[in-house]
Amino acid sequence: MAFGLKTFSRGGIHVDDRKYSHESAIEKIPAPKTVVIPISQHIGAPAKAVVTKDQAVKIGQIIAEKSGFISANVLSPVSGVVKAVEARMTPTGFKQDCIVIENDMKDEYFEAFTAVAPSAEVIEKLDVSGAVKAVEKAGIVGMGGAAFPTSVKLSPPPDVKIDTVILNGVECEPYLTADARIMIEDAEKIVAGLALIMKIFSKNGPVKGYIGIEANKPDSIQKMSEAASKYKDIEVVSLALKYPQGGEKQLINAIVGRDVPSGKLPSAVGCVVQNVATAASIYDAAVNNRPLIERVVTVTGMGVKKQKNLLVRFGTMFTELIDYCGGVTDDAAMLICGGPMMGKALQTSEVPVTKAVSGILVLTQNEANLYEEAPCIRCGRCVDVCPMGLQPGMINKVIDAGDYDKLEELSLLDCIECGSCNYICAGHERLVQKIKIGKVKLQEILKARKEKEAQLKKEDKK
């Protein structure tokens, strides 16, 4: 690690990055015969299905409409016929309503699109007034894993002034290489996307753009720097390797040194953070009227025969991707949607790729944490590594004891669930799981208190 590289100031862990698939160029895999499209692939209200069984659909046609402010459209990634609208297993680990479409293999688009190559001139000439609408229509959500509707992020309240847009090319989750490959293979489009986002916010004053990339991806840094050199006010920042640098708050702290206050959004310090793949999709939607119908997924882990980066239509089953990579090894033990730190373990590979799926990780018995939980020996490492300055071990004890009233002073709503404490724990305790339970309990307490206060106020008025 080069000395003097920027990084975030508090906590964090150094994990072996295991980017086995970094050298493997993105391969486009054929669209499947049947796609399964969950109507809720984002944070917020599920979209509302607007197609029925046996209805013909085309690529880019809205098949489920956003419902509510924080929600996102869902588009058909293939042309064909709707076979069913029913509950199916999804990568969330639960059954959710899905639209099942049989692909007619004709790849007919619902609307015409263009193929304008990205450049500084294109962005300069572009009228961005319709850009946010285009992003909303294209169903774009954050592609780094959180899947927050992008159009919402691009339209902050009028009193909020954004002066910094940061592209997240950190990809700090071990194993995953999708973003690294996109940056190598599609740098021009990503940087144009960033310039476009900056232009959207520039009506309130000058906006500076940064692209944060960890130093373990020198080729990504080089390609992105070349592309960025054609724009004013865009800077590629090479970051020291440390997890969870891709967390919004950590990345803002690392690059511009601002601390997002507890309980606030990045916009509170004038920042917006977007994933690199999202930036490319924004460009495609706003400039070329192209819908978001596919994404790059890393299929990796020692449990899969060949580690690859695949360009995949939404709705393709995990099974197909894994089999495309030669299938699983004999000692494959765990199937994870996402990275090893924050990803979710799945029972079955019969779930579809959604907008938020950045990786499919097959861990062998040796790689996976299959240990039983052992007692806390108070080593304090969880406190040392927590990037939010919390005390995970203490929270764990309080939850075990059922002492939920104490949760508030332990500020566990600040927890970003990065899993650093979980990773470092000498007792292999599943601390994140405990904290998730604690968050639910604490929210119940806070809600009950609010209701009680409202009740008291009402009575006072009488």
Partner: protein
């Protein structure tokens, strides 16, 4: 098998882990104590080896027997923590300790110091120190009998009998004659005598078998700090505080006080500060908490040594500070992000 039909193991993330878990931590601490153990055998001969082996074996046996027959819970000797407690207890004993005393120490350390509280992670006090202090109170004569029958020291005493007097613990001598007319003479004697820094540091002097060689202890501790098993905050704060107070005391009253290096290198300070006070279970969670803990240990150690009834205060100081750990953890919190 087809990928489609495979049933995957489901668990809660993170799904990868830092390989250094409890048993590996404990095992590495045991490894790090091997230089001090080897030095003990060199200096005190076969007696030391006997004490060490009995300490480890009896501690492991006590844990296994109590868990199996009394508590009827799974036996956890595989995590090496009982072995470590036994080893630390043994290192805190004189070479001439009879086998039954070591066994009683293990029984108290593991049985009362650890398992009675609910086992690993639950005990408020360092188990090995609970064992040692119980023996110190129960068998004061045996616990301060520094006679040797073998090893380097026995050889030395045979050649130069005067050494038998002077290499016995200076802290003990000063305490034994404190307030008497001899104090000034003894102090002057030790302060001028050639038990120099080097001898004390390498450890060819008398004392508990594991405490004599600061060199061997430091070697082990540096390995552990490099491996990130041990924190440096507690030892630094602890030893630093003792050094500062000892120096201040000496310069205020040079005719009545031992040179600071006796306080640093002739007692159990290094063994205590490096391997006992740093016990994860019984020390604070946070960096700043550990600094406070270390300073507290240092102050108490010097208060006991200078004003208390015992020549040595390290064990008591650590046990007393153990009491404050929950309070330290409540009042000294890590700095939160964005607050």
């Amino acid at each position: 098998m087809e990928t489609k039909d495979k049933k995957w193991i489901v668990g809660q993330g993170s799904h990868i882990y830092f390989p250094q878990d409890t048993s590996k931590i404990m095992f590495q601490v045991i490894l790090a104590l091997l230089p001090a153990s080897a030095m003990a055998v060199y200096v005190f001969g076969f007696d030391a080896l006997k004490v060490l082996l009995i300490g480890v074996i009896s501690a492991v046996a006590v844990e296994a027997l109590i868990q199996k027959y009394l508590m009827k819970t799974p036996v956890t000797i595989g995590d090496y923590s009982a072995a470590l407690t036994g080893l630390l207890l043994a290192l805190n004993l004189p070479a001439g300790s009879p086998w039954w005393m070591v066994c009683i120490g293990s029984l108290i350390a593991i049985g009362i110091g650890k398992l009675a509280y609910g086992g690993l992670g639950q005990n408020p006090f360092n188990p090995a120190l609970v064992g040692r202090v119980a023996l110190l109170i129960g068998f004061p004569a045996l616990m301060t009998d520094w006679s040797v029958t073998g090893g380097y020291l026995a050889e030395l005493y045979r050649k130069i009998p005067a050494e038998a007097l002077t290499t016995a613990t200076p802290l003990g001598f000063i305490k034994a004659y404190s307030g008497s007319n001899f104090t000034a003479d003894l102090v002057a004697y030790f302060n001028s005598y050639s038990i120099n820094l080097k001898t004390l540091f390498i450890g060819t002097t008398s004392g508990s078998i594991g405490e004599v060689s600061e060199l061997a202890l430091l070697l082990g501790a540096l390995y552990l700090i490099y491996k990130k098993v041990l924190n440096w905050e507690i030892p630094a704060a602890f030893i630093g505080t003792v050094g500062v107070i000892a120096m201040a005391a000496y310069y205020l009253k040079p005719q009545a006080m031992l040179l600071p290096h006796y306080h640093l290198f002739s007692g159990g300070l290094f063994l205590g500060a490096l391997f006992m006070a740093t016990d994860m279970v019984t020390s604070p969670f946070t960096f700043r908490g550990r600094i406070v803990f270390g300073i507290g240990c240092g102050v108490l150690t010097m208060l006991i040594r200078l004003y208390g009834g015992y020549p040595e205060g390290v064990s008591f100081a650590i046990l007393l500070m153990n009491i404050f750990v929950p309070i330290i953890d409540i009042y000294i919190k890590p700095k939160r992000f964005g607050v």
